[in-house]
């Protein structure tokens, strides 16, 4: 089981902030996105994190991971 999280404008666009997913094959961050959002390609500039560390979209996910997708950050 992996947990997916969406933030800010991406959360609003998708209409949800979190969901859970069983994975049975090798998956990258990008392929997980495609699995759950087949009709909506990952917006350019989206940042991706696994277990709260930034990772590239090619990063392999494993069971228990928290995978997050969000737009460029604008704090401070």
């Amino acid at each position: 089981m992996i947990t997916l999280r969406y933030f800010a404008s991406l959360r609003e666009t998708l209409g949800r902030s979190t969901e859970q997913l069983e994975i049975f094959e090798l998956h990258t961050v990008l392929s997980v996105w495609r699995l759950v959002n087949p009709d909506f390609s990952l917006p350019e500039n989206t940042l991706t994190a696994v277990n709260m560390d930034y990772v590239p979209q090619s990063h392999l996910v494993k069971n228990g991971d928290e995978v997050a997708f969000f737009p460029p950050v604008t704090g401070g």
């Binding site: 933030f7 994190a49 709260m52 997050a68 969000f70 737009p71 950050v73 704090g75 401070g76």
Partner: protein, 151 residues
């Protein structure tokens, strides 16, 4: 080294004083560099009446802790404090406080600047502005290059 996320208004000077009072660095620090980011009532040419700051609870703390760890390797920092506001913010309220204590001025200045730039680059915060017209918009790094240099 302390990181605080606040969901209500904070007074940056009270935060610094309280933090400094519990330090045991009497006579050891010669330099304190502080940056405070405050909400303006305008941005990108528009009047802004409020802002909602969303963050990724947990990742924020993790990223800021890593940024501080890197700063400690680069400069001889005696201590530092980062406070960041989340939730609904009104103009003139502080958004972020970064304070660095060091023996020497160069290190305090440079580390404070570094922490602030890295925070803006990597800490997972997002600003939703409510304009004077009641319209809302997500602050973007891309619409206007200005924004990347703001605050």
């Amino acid at each position: 080294m302390t990181v605080k996320i606040c969901d209500t208004a904070f007074d940056p000077f009270v935060e610094i004083q309280n933090f400094q009072n519990q330090l045991t660095l009497e006579g050891k620090f010669g330099a304190t560099s502080v940056f405070i980011g405050t909400m303006r009532d305008f941005n990108n040419g528009d009047d802004v009446q409020a802002m909602t700051l969303e963050h990724y609870d947990g990742m924020t703390q993790k990223q800021l802790t890593q940024i501080i760890a890197t700063a400690k390797i680069k400069w001889q920092i005696l201590d530092c404090l980062i406070v960041h506001r989340v939730g609904k913010i009104l103009p003139n309220e502080p958004i972020v406080l970064v304070a660095v204590w060091s023996a020497h001025r160069d290190e305090a200045f440079e580390a404070c600047r570094y922490l602030m730039e890295e925070l803006k680059e990597n800490a997972p915060f997002w600003k939703l502005e409510t304009l004077a017209t009641n319209e809302t918009r997500w602050v973007s790094k891309h619409i206007n290059q200005e924004i990347a240099h703001d605050k």
